[in-house]
Homo-oligomer: 205 residues x 2
DNA sequence: ACTATATTTCAACAAGTGTTGACAATTGCA
DNA sequence: TGCAATTGTCAACACTTGTTGAAATATAGT
């Protein structure tokens, strides 16, 4: 998980450059961050950035690699699944390194195709399957994934990128619960019919 | 609502420039769209763009003015309120001019502060009050507004900006309903306790 | 100390940006 | 037709961008 501290001198400045880039990309997006900005923050010459990573695009690619490592949801109740999903995403967002990577992708994706492409790949390859497994043979897996993605993306965008007051005002500890309550009805509706609670609320036997 | 067609020649090219800018801003964002791009699409000289609007920033401001004109929700049931809200937003998104304006803001806001600021102003001034009115004296108006904003922003981002397959795959006619089902439980939870349906589902008298 | 390698600095490039002011063309009015 | 105002064109400015290659410095091995 955590990188071991680099030994050789070049590896150390290489790491400084990567750290600076990750932070700046997250704060301002890829296109709004210049190679010179990165170099200044890493306290080195702009030419070194290119020398060590080949190009700005390659630096972006190197700095944004990550795995959501979503938990398995198959067989859980909607409430439990919503809790795990919400807690997992909040943990990713509030952890510095993974948070910066996620913010970089979200912030850049709107006018930087490689970022958008990576986000699409992450959702198709990691989120979609987990939701489909939860829904079982329910034909509505597509709709459910769409709704889950909306909520997750919406919270992340509003809180970390747009900084909308209603979302920034929420304390981090309350965040998982708030997301879970939005997610639970969505997940409940995604289950196959015979597993659904009846509308009049009669508890299942 | 619709502008009357311009009479003088300068007003006509001014309108061509505004149209071109609105479309390009929506497609690529403000910063990724150059004055020369706009001029090319409007079939005029780049200098004219500045002449007629003063600066690129001023052109952005002029082209992005709009009013959500949200319906009043006070006193509605959660289901009805969710339906109206969802239908209203979808109509905005799927109408060319307002859709382009919304996309411009959303796409640019991630690395263009004026866009972010305008989005925040729209939510604080237009969405928040409508939700607060619906919630009545419920103390949870803030949370409810946060959740509503998440869903709305998330759908718009995923469908129109990131183009995530699960969201782009939904037919426009099905979209309002899909959003409404996400919104309804959120709005229901935002009502003051004495108006809430009991957990065991007993219908109110 | 001298050499060879690793690391960094510097100056410059070509391309693209928003913006400006001087000039040319077109239009409408007398 | 001639004059004046409106509208459009052109070339250039100052600046920033990613990237490059040669030169300078620092580090380590003998």
């Amino acid at each position: 998980m955590t990188e071991s501290p680099p030994t050789t001198r070049s590896a150390r400045t290489r790491a400084r450059i990567a750290d600076a880039a990750r932070a700046l990309f997250a704060e301002a997006g890829v296109t709004a961050t210049s190679v010179r900005d990165i170099a200044e923050r890493a306290e080195c010459d702009p030419a070194l950035v290119i020398r060590y990573f080949g190009s700005k695009e390659a630096l972006f690619t190197a700095v944004v690699q990550f795995d959501l490592m979503l938990p398995e949801l198959r067989g859980l109740t909607p409430g439990a699944a919503a809790e795990r999903l919400a807690g997992h995403f909040v943990r990713i967002w509030e952890t510095r390194e993974s948070g910066e990577k996620f913010q970089t992708l979200l912030r850049s994706a709107t006018s930087h195709e490689p970022s958008a492409e990576r986000l699409r790949a992450v959702f198709a390859g990691q989120v979609q399957p987990v939701i489909a497994a939860f829904c079982g043979e329910g034909a509505s897996a597509g709709d459910t994934a769409a709704k889950v993605a909306s909520v997750v993306l919406g919270v992340a965008l509003g809180r970390y990128i747009l900084r909308l007051p209603p979302l920034t005002g929420i304390a981090p500890e309350r965040l998982p619960d708030l997301i879970a309550t939005s997610l639970e009805p969505i997940l409940a509706a995604g289950l196959p019919a015979r597993l659904q609670p009846r509308e009049d609320g009669d508890p299942s036997p």
